[in-house]
């Protein structure tokens, strides 16, 4: 059979020499490599205290967006649900009534919107499918839980805070724009 790479090494079946049989030089060589790492930069961080910056393409927990006037952008068009390969998203639509114009951007909105985080694979296809820029994957993990019930996220968990009434919470949820992009 032809070799796949040129890095193949034949296993030597010859008996070990005296230097190999006393093992000490090999042990010292290995220890040398280990000790040299003490003086190198540490790749690990102390997680809960220190946090590493997410990659710009990180896909975390979902956020339902509002527009600058604080109205919900989602119109329950169902494209996220149809794009979802894990079938994690369900919703129920309703018609906007008179007097609700400041809450919902269009005449139709999602009265119920749920994402089952146990099903979700964080692929980001919902974000890509959304024609209204309503759903985004944020830079947060889905928190752990002891039972399954906590993993069905409703609208109250997903909606971003209203920028008109809670500007600070909104800014925090929105995050800082990155300097490099």
């Amino acid at each position: 059979m032809q070799a796949l790479t040129k890095r193949r090494k034949e296993v030597s079946r010859e008996p070990m020499t005296f230097m190999e049989r006393i093992y000490i030089p090999s042990i010292l060589k290995g220890m040398g490599i280990t000790f040299s790492h003490l003086f190198k930069k540490q790749p690990t961080i102390q997680y809960p205290e220190q946090k590493r910056e997410f990659s710009p393409v990180f896909r975390g927990l979902h956020v339902l967006n509002r527009d600058e006037e604080g109205r919900e952008r989602c119109t329950a068009c169902g494209l996220c649900a149809v794009a979802c390969p894990a079938e994690a998203i369900t919703m129920e639509a309703a018609e906007r009534m008179e007097g609700e114009e400041n809450k919902y951007r269009e005449e139709k909105y999602a009265a119920k919107y749920e994402i089952n985080m146990l099903r979700c694979i964080f692929c980001g296809l919902c974000e890509e499918a959304c024609p209204k820029d309503a759903i985004y994957l944020s830079e947060t993990f889905a928190p752990a839980n002891f039972n399954r019930k906590g993993f069905v996220y409703g609208k109250e968990d997903l909606l971003i805070p209203d920028p008109t009434t809670e500007p600070e919470a909104y800014a925090k949820a929105k995050g800082q724009p990155r300097a490099n992009n």
């Binding site: 169902g78 149809v82 369900t90 919703m91 639509a93 018609e95 749920e114 019930k149």
Partner: protein, 365 residues
Amino acid sequence: MSEQPLFKVTIDNITIEVPAGTTILNAARKIGGEVAPPAMCYYSKLEGSGGKCRTCLVEVSKGSEKDPRPMPKLVASCRTTVMDGMEVKNITSEKVIDARNGVVEFLLINHPLDCPVCDQAGECHLQDLSYNHGKESTRFEFQKRTFKKHDLGPYIQLHMTRCILCYRCVFTADQLTGKREHGVLDRGDHAEIATFIEKSLDNEFIGNVIDVCPVGALTDKTFRFKNRVWFLKPMDAHRDCPTCSGKVTLWNRGDEVYRVTARKDQWGEVEDWICNTCRFEKKNTGDWVIEGPRLIDRHSVIAQGHYAGSIGMHQPKETFEAVHNGRKPKLLMDIHSVSNVNRPEITLSKLDRPAHSTDFKPNQD
């Protein structure tokens, strides 16, 4: 039939013999598939329809055996009858494709493109057409036309901004009801479908204008915003109806009947007209004899839920007990204890209007 001469016509290099007097469009539909030009306004069951939208334009490269000159301009295939020895180019002609792209751009000039809100999305002919022929962006920089809202009664919702003025609904109202109540007002850019003096239409068959509409201009008010069509399960069903044939398609979620429509054939045309009672008032599964899942073209988004066709015939089996030697699961989570979607106590299908925030109130806490 027998005394009528058969004409030989070649469409996109496929030859077929059709009786004299057949239109090019119908000849192409006999061949079927890609050869049939799209039609937004022509409707085989409505007399006088066609010739409005210009999407079915084709090139006639040879007029007939006796007069082989090509026709100077593209012709509307729904209104042009075949001649013996005629040669027609549809998708093989660049001119046709170019003209069709232009027509689609014109149709979309005033179209609001509110597909995320529109109930027709997923079964909209204009959507299909623009996916096949449309441009990615618009060149139209002006205000789109808007209209004063008209109320078309308790069952039918009119969105005039979405209308492409195909006149199908006007012909339907004319030919099925015998009394003209519904027509096109004004001219040019201002032309709109309306009932005169805003009176509601109370004919027993008027609901068919919903099925006939190729876009989302006329939609079912009892189904408005309830669900997207591709999440529903299309089922063939019938009932003993004194006024119509009673053969319909039910659009279900679980056992709830969300919408009733007429059965549509492969060209998107209804097979039988159905009456308003069947369409709007029989929203119980018990009212219907269910025949089985309806066949839906697998390229349609409606087929994505695998409810339709032969796949829909087979209910998925419970696998847990089979895998665990008949042992029942020890812990079962009732999804309704967690999820607020599809609550058993809220039956959206029974509402004869779109759901409002008040319908969800009792269990919001």
